[in-house]
Symmetry: C6
Amino acid sequence: MILDSYRIATEPYYQPQGQEIATFLAAYHERLPIMLKGPTGCGKTRFIEHMAWRLGKPLITVAAHEDMTAADLAGRYLLEPSGTVWHDGPLTLAVRHGAICYLDEIVEARQDTTVVIHPLTDARRILPLDKHNEIVPAHSDFQLTISYNPGYQSAVKDLKESTKQRFIAIDFGYPPPATESAIVARESGADADLARLLVTIAERSRNLQGHGLDEGASTRMLIHTGRMVRAGLPLPVAVQSGIVLPITDNPDIRAALSDAIEACLP
Amino acid sequence: MILDSYRIATEPYYQPQGQEIATFLAAYHERLPIMLKGPTGCGKTRFIEHMAWRLGKPLITVAAHEDMTAADLAGRYLLEPSGTVWHDGPLTLAVRHGAICYLDEIVEARQDTTVVIHPLTDARRILPLDKHNEIVPAHSDFQLTISYNPGYQSAVKDLKESTKQRFIAIDFGYPPPATESAIVARESGADADLARLLVTIAERSRNLQGHGLDEGASTRMLIHTGRMVRAGLPLPVAVQSGIVLPITDNPDIRAALSDAIEACLP
Amino acid sequence: MILDSYRIATEPYYQPQGQEIATFLAAYHERLPIMLKGPTGCGKTRFIEHMAWRLGKPLITVAAHEDMTAADLAGRYLLEPSGTVWHDGPLTLAVRHGAICYLDEIVEARQDTTVVIHPLTDARRILPLDKHNEIVPAHSDFQLTISYNPGYQSAVKDLKESTKQRFIAIDFGYPPPATESAIVARESGADADLARLLVTIAERSRNLQGHGLDEGASTRMLIHTGRMVRAGLPLPVAVQSGIVLPITDNPDIRAALSDAIEACLP
Amino acid sequence: MILDSYRIATEPYYQPQGQEIATFLAAYHERLPIMLKGPTGCGKTRFIEHMAWRLGKPLITVAAHEDMTAADLAGRYLLEPSGTVWHDGPLTLAVRHGAICYLDEIVEARQDTTVVIHPLTDARRILPLDKHNEIVPAHSDFQLTISYNPGYQSAVKDLKESTKQRFIAIDFGYPPPATESAIVARESGADADLARLLVTIAERSRNLQGHGLDEGASTRMLIHTGRMVRAGLPLPVAVQSGIVLPITDNPDIRAALSDAIEACLP
Amino acid sequence: MILDSYRIATEPYYQPQGQEIATFLAAYHERLPIMLKGPTGCGKTRFIEHMAWRLGKPLITVAAHEDMTAADLAGRYLLEPSGTVWHDGPLTLAVRHGAICYLDEIVEARQDTTVVIHPLTDARRILPLDKHNEIVPAHSDFQLTISYNPGYQSAVKDLKESTKQRFIAIDFGYPPPATESAIVARESGADADLARLLVTIAERSRNLQGHGLDEGASTRMLIHTGRMVRAGLPLPVAVQSGIVLPITDNPDIRAALSDAIEACLP
Amino acid sequence: MILDSYRIATEPYYQPQGQEIATFLAAYHERLPIMLKGPTGCGKTRFIEHMAWRLGKPLITVAAHEDMTAADLAGRYLLEPSGTVWHDGPLTLAVRHGAICYLDEIVEARQDTTVVIHPLTDARRILPLDKHNEIVPAHSDFQLTISYNPGYQSAVKDLKESTKQRFIAIDFGYPPPATESAIVARESGADADLARLLVTIAERSRNLQGHGLDEGASTRMLIHTGRMVRAGLPLPVAVQSGIVLPITDNPDIRAALSDAIEACLP
């Protein structure tokens, strides 16, 4: 089938933190569009992969960006020997054949993207392809999920009210320490002690958030650092290259962060 | 017939609130263009669907956005084996074959869109296709309706006087509580008690409008929340994911809204 | 003949207000370009239609907008089986075959449009098609007329001196009450009393111009309102939907306008 | 010959005002590029037409504007049955076959236009067509002339020093009264009295320049007004439509200007 | 093989300064994306060339700039006799066939570039080619490295947190004097005395950084100057043309820099 | 050979002023990229032509401007009967076949131009044509020279440090009076007295630089003025049209400049 390459073969590991699975399942049951909210690297992408696997549906992911046009989502005409031929874009593929479509960081997109999804998110459940003079009714399996990092939003770049009010929202945050340690250990191959230590380091960095740091270290960074240690790098070098150096160039913040970390190291 | 896919087969549920149906029918009788004004999710789209069904006319809906060009409405040349061939855009389809054309959130569009509709909205009732050197006289069934959310307008983005003065305007607002409860119950499958409770919650949120919230919860959100409850989600989780989390990320507003809601919950 | 579809078959009703017809005829006799100045909906478009009918010349109307390019006026190459073929734009059509070309709201256009008309508006009377390496001498019947709403102009969007000084200007305003009543009665089918009443309402709204309203109600709005009444809508509902709601969303101005109107209603 | 349609058949009337003809002839003898400076409608275009006629050279005029690209001057590839074919733009035509190329209002153009002419205006006298991988040496008859209205220039839109310093400059202004009267009489068919009166009116308007008026009435406007009178319009109506209404919409300036004019009328 | 022209045949000279080689090897072992941070001309490009040679992998370098589009990285359709054909861009080449892809000065790129690399830098290791409806899984040899000059970043142009947190970072700075002298001697053919002298001069310029100079002289400049001396230019002339004149046009800074340098010259 | 039309047949006259020839030869010997710095019309273009002639290498000159794209330098696909065919741009021509490539006024270009030259200006000496999936190694004769007018640079438009530090710089200024007189005499055919007088006039204008004038009169202007005199124009008229009128429109500066000049005239 046309969407086979979008199916997820093996279960993506996901550690639940609250009501997010029940909420997603209820919204999916009602085919209501879903908005995943939360900071960088806290597991939103993993969650949607897990849910797609759990529901046995193909998943089409599109990373939104400010140069993305409606045609990048909906499709366009391409020139072939027999003339111009319509090619479905990733959103149309999902709508027509029944996939979960995941629009990552939707606020980055221009407003024409946002507007394209409106008729898919109300009772109509259709995708009008104006340039193709076609109205595609959504497949009964189609589901739309978007992600949204509230920390990024500004007055200039925000979803319009008429868009926001179409979505069921699920909040994500950093997991509690024990859960996060388990995730880091499992994903990086670090032992329990190292995983706990890395989570402690992350907490120190998160305390600096708003005091010079835009965001603290994500779960993803901890996993990277654990893998660097497993690959043989000394722990202090791994922590510098995996956590400290990537998140700030400010010498004072680097020093503060390094001091806070050093106090945790064995 | 070419517009068959744009016909509405079954009656869309619509609960009248005032003189809007009489006004629409009079304007349609005179083929005067109509502007639907009102906030997000209060039923403008449903109203136009209802009227199209009632009048037995096909409905072509175009969601305006700031990257939409005049060609997206009027049509363009496409390359085919025999050379370039003209393809009517959605507005031209409606003009030529006699549909109601609904331009949703017209202020989002660039001014060339607005200007394209001028000769359709005065005594001429024509659509000049400059690039096609054709003047399309409007079919006697053609009617133009636009929507407009006054809450969005700014000095930068507003209709020009010479556009505004061409339209008969109909104002929409949130329905009175009893009407809104009936709508929510019917559309979400919620029982009367839950529907009334959801409307009470919406009123609390609308009281916060202008005090941190850009807009209160729409009727659409209440219906979504009712459907989440029907799908088995506990009421407080449904209210959070369907109403509180989507409309604000500000922790203080979230707390105020949650408090106001909690006081209503059974 | 190629311009037949641009001929006006039946006399467009026009009620003269001053020297405008004599001025237009003198300028047309000299083939001097003409600029019609005046507010929204006061009859500029009707006047040019009337003059085209009176002179028995085809009329090609182009609504200018800020995304209009010089090619939209002059023409462009289109791809055909035998290669690219030149297609005249509406201005070139008028220049080559002898029509009156009416550029509506010229200030909306980008400067390349304005510059395109320069060699047509001095002794040369030519249209150089640079991309086609052709110089089109104007047909002896060709005449250029533009419209201009002085209320819109800002420092950013204004005609350049070198453009303005090429035109004979004709000023338009709202007609005197008796004339306007006659126009409204004739165009809307309203009886004399209703027409007079509508003109009185318009005068009230024009008094609010500059005090919260950008422009008062145009003659066009009065005609629309009269037609809504003829279609069976009660007068107060017709006045709201045809005059009050379209021109302002400000609740205070709406109230002031409604009060001023109510005092006139029978 | 390819440039025949650019030749000027009959002598364009030009009334010399100073050393401008000698300066132009000397610069043409040396093939130095020339810049004509002066206000709107004072005869720069007529002068270049006269000089082209006098020298017996074809004249290619291009009106610069801010959307003009280098390709609009130099040329571009067009799609033909045998593939893409290069078509010379107007500047390349002039360079290759030996015409005077007149770039009107050069400051309006984007900087790529200005840069395109640099290698034509120094010892190299070549036009590199980068996209065509061709270097066109200028024909020995080729001459470049540009016009420039100093009243328009702002900090944003001005020629670069490295462009200015390549040109011989000739200054133009309004002619002295007797000369201007002779021009107006000859060009409009007005008798000597009317011509003198129109020049007096122009002087009044020029006195208001900088006091509410951007520029006073040009010689062109006087000619237009004379022609309107010849076509039978009463003098006061002709003066209003030909001079007062086109140059200002400000009621106070209109009144001041009308008063100043009325004092001159017989 | 298709990437052969991207292989580095001879060992690029690189003088290690710290843990950078171990860190790179560990990150490469884990196929974690790498970010090289540091000032202009301190050896980042040489380092990645050295590592590619050391690992025996082809290296595809792309210099990012603000006009680079996602298609410049991912690929595009080109028109061929049989219709449009997809051509892989440099990033896709690297992903599909297993090269190290080095994106130089990534912050210069528009956000669509940044977003394109996201799915390559997490557990998915895929490159979705939306316009080609293809998901390219990364070859097991594929590795992504980006460079980043912290001195350039501003509030407007910076990597997003969600991008930064995906990378292992390696810091680069100017080498210690003895190391830098050795590099300069080896690369420029200068003798040890001249090399040491040039490094001393560089240190003087680096002391002026932040006091009128944006950046001090890079190692690259010292090598250039050494080569100019080797080519026979007198040392003071070489120092002026290779160091002083390129980095500043400010006469005061030039004088200060020249004075500081003169004190070192023999 | 393909570059023959880019060879300079006869020696371009150039009067050396310092170490510039030795510096250029040393940098060319090392194939280091060169940056010519200096004001308008002081001889940078003539110098590079002279050096190309002296070295017997073809010279490809590209005038940079802000609308120039990387494709204008590197090349692009053109549509031919057999499909799209790659055409080398001027920079690629120079790189592939061994010419000196002179990028005039490089700061005018967008950053993608600047970035395109980076891999040509370090040890790699390659030009990656991303869109053509080709890496062009520079011909051993290839040399890159850019020009740069420090007087133009602003915070917005300046070369990046990482670009500047890749170039050997050569400073140019106005020649000393005796040299400049010799140049003017030779290039304009003026006798020694006139040449000296023109240089004296230029010095007066250069004293006004920064006091109302952006730049003083260039050597080029003196040559133009000398040629106008030789063509028979009286000296004062030649000086006005060749020096005073082109560089300023400010009446006060014009008067000051004219006064300063008059004092020198015989």
